[in-house]
Structure formats: structure tokens, C-alpha cells
Subunit: 182 residues, 2 copies
DNA sequence: GGCTCCTATATAACGCTGTTCTATAAGTAT
DNA sequence: ATACTTATAGAACAGCGTTATATAGGAGCC
């Protein structure tokens, strides 16, 4: 039941964006009465929070699956996977970062999101250990990288791209960043 | 009348965020009946679009006012001014980029936003002309810079900063970016 | 000046939203 | 088999954006 509600919400999200997720639409799509959302998730925000967590888990898996010949290549590959995930799940990505602004999320949910960031920190740390990035605070550098890739993805999803080849521009930004951090 | 409605909307936006902007609340705050919003702006989206345009105009002014001893310093200073603007007007900044996703804006409104980007392109172009950045497509490079600073600002506004000193981290990201583009 | 027409504003209503309340059905333990 | 707890269904409430209707005000003309 709780899974079917989540599935229904994801379907509606993919199909019609955030606004098409309403308590009634999700419940109907899952073949349940609206009250089902409240008994399972407390309220609509609880349902959105579950989507938030699932989104970060999937994002983390996408980053983790990236590979490469050396630590810096794996970092770069993970960042490209980050972009691929966002472009493949635009509405989910939007929801994940909008909820961060609007909802006050539970400690557990925030930790799930931080775990994803932790993966990025590890990759940065590995690259530093391999001498491929200048040694400094790995969390700080990971934050800088995340800033850049999140911005690139956000503007691309918003349709604000003045580049003819967004993927190439994204890669070029990433390379400039990594060169500057070397 | 149309100015007082805009002022009322800005007041409510600053005070309570995007959700506190409702047709009724804005009209009441401006001492007008709800219908006034429709006669002046067509509908609520028209009002939000007016806020969007005004936001980009103010952002452009903030970037333009930045100065420095050379072209690269002026570019960097403009980026820092970009961050200052966003932190000083968090809800307005959120609205500006959310509307880009949700509303389909008029051609004129989009052009106003593009003018702001044009200022950034000019600063990049100047830095290239002065030999302080590697010569390449200025629009493409400006996009990369915008990606990075928008991401940094967005995550900071969302409260997703694992750095102890966000301003320093933002500056470090910017420097890494500019070094990589040299 | 008085009358007509047009425009703009106010009021009420419609359909939608999230949420809550009440009553009914189902399932379990004794 | 009965009693009690739990979950579900349905209606109802306040708020939202929007629309339709009715009323007031001002401009143009005789």
C-alpha cells in the first residue's frame, strides 16, 4: 500500500510535474481513498519527504556506479552521472531541492541526503590522496564541486542555456573547476 | 495602483516567502479588491512575472555596480555582487528562478533576464580581451561561470552548506573556476 | 445641466486544494 | 460469538485562483 502510493506519486511526478501531485490524485492513482495518504505518511509533506529520500538514494546509486581509470576520472565521471540523473528525472530533481527549501525535513531524511554528499567528498578525497587535486579541506572542495554541478544542472533544467551543446559546456565547466583545484 | 500592488507583493515576499503571495493577500495589503490584480496584471502569473522582471533588473544593477582594478577583478567582483544580491533577497531570487521553470514567460520578460546574462558575458569578454582568461567562446564561458555561482547561491539559500565559512567557499570556488579558465 | 454609455471596482460564487471529522467496515483477541 | 480496536470511506471546512454578475463612477453628447 505505502509502496503503491509512492509509485503512484512517482508516476504522476514524471508525467506532469510537481503540481500534478495532489493528495486526491495520488490516492486515486493508487486505488485508495485520500485518507490513505494521511494514515501512511501523516500528511502530504510526509509523502513528498519519502520521494525526497528515494530521490537521493537513487542519485547516490547513480554517482556510485561511475567508474574511471584514476581517482580524478572517477570524480569527473560521478559528476557527469549526477547530470545524467537530473536530466533523466527532471521533476524529481526539482522536487528534491525544492523540498530542501520549503519543508523542514526530519533528521533521518537529511542524513540520507548528506550520505549522497559524502560519496562526493570521498571521491574528492581520493583524488587528493592520489595527488590529482591540491590537498586541502575535502569537504570544502566537494562543496565547491557540488555548487558548480548543481548550478549547471539547475539552469539546464530551467531551460536557461545559451550554449549550443549543454553537455559539452557542462563538461568544460567541470574541467575548468578541476584544473583550478589541481 | 499597479505600483502599490507590486510593492505589496514585494513586501509580502520578503516577509513570508513565495507562498504568502496570494491574490487576496496582495490586494488587501495594497488596499484594493482582488479583482485589481486581474485588471492590472491579467492574473496571478502576470504579477509574478512583473516581480521576475524587476528582480532581474535589480540583479543587473547589482552586477553592474561592481568594480575592480582589472577586467578579471571586475568579473570576480560582479560574481560576488551576484551572491550578495541573492542573500539579501532570498525569496525574490527563489521566485526568479522558479518562475523560469514554471511560467512560460513573455518574450520581453525573457529578454530582460537575458540582458542580465549579457552583462556577465561582457565582463568575461573583457577579461579575455585583457588576456586574463583564455580566449574562447565568451557566451560559453559566461554560462559556465553562471552555472557555478547560481549553484553556490542556490545551495546556500537552501541551507545546504557543509562549509564553516560559505562566503570563503564561494570565493574559493570562483577562484578555482577562473584559474581553470585562464 | 441632465442623460446615456462605458469602464472599473466590489461582491459573490465555482471548482480545486490540503486537511479534518464522523460514521462505517474489517479484523483480532478474548 | 462477542467486544474492542483499527483503518477506511465519505462528507465537510477553510483557503486558493479564477470567473461572473451587479453596482458605482466618470466621460461624452444633447
Amino acid at each position: 500500500m505505502t509502496a503503491s502510493l509512492l509509485d503512484a506519486a512517482q508516476d504522476l511526478l514524471e508525467e506532469g510535474g510537481i503540481d500534478s501531485i495532489t493528495v486526491r490524485s495520488v490516492a486515486t492513482h493508487a486505488g485508495v481513498a485520500p485518507m490513505g495518504v494521511y494514515s501512511r505518511f501523516g500528511n502530504k509533506d510526509g509523502l513528498l519527504e519519502a520521494l525526497f529520500v528515494e530521490g537521493f538514494d537513487r542519485l547516490q546509486a547513480a554517482i556510485a556506479s561511475a567508474s574511471g581509470p584514476d581517482a580524478l576520472a572517477r570524480l569527473r565521471s560521478g559528476c557527469m552521472a549526477y547530470r545524467d540523473f537530473a536530466l533523466a528525472n527532471p521533476h524529481l530533481y526539482e522536487l528534491m531541492f525544492r523540498q530542501m527549501l520549503e519543508l523542514e525535513l526530519s533528521a533521518e531524511s537529511l542524513e540520507r541526503a548528506e550520505q549522497t554528499f559524502g560519496h562526493l567528498v570521498s571521491r574528492v578525497s581520493d583524488a587528493m590522496a592520489a595527488g590529482l587535486l591540491a590537498r586541502s579541506d575535502d569537504v570544502d572542495v566537494a562543496q565547491q564541486v557540488w555548487n558548480a554541478i548543481h548550478g549547471g544542472v539547475s539552469l539546464e533544467l530551467a531551460g536557461v542555456t545559451f550554449s549550443s551543446d549543454p553537455e559539452r559546456t557542462f563538461g568544460a565547466m567541470l574541467d575548468a573547476m578541476l584544473v583550478g583545484l589541481r
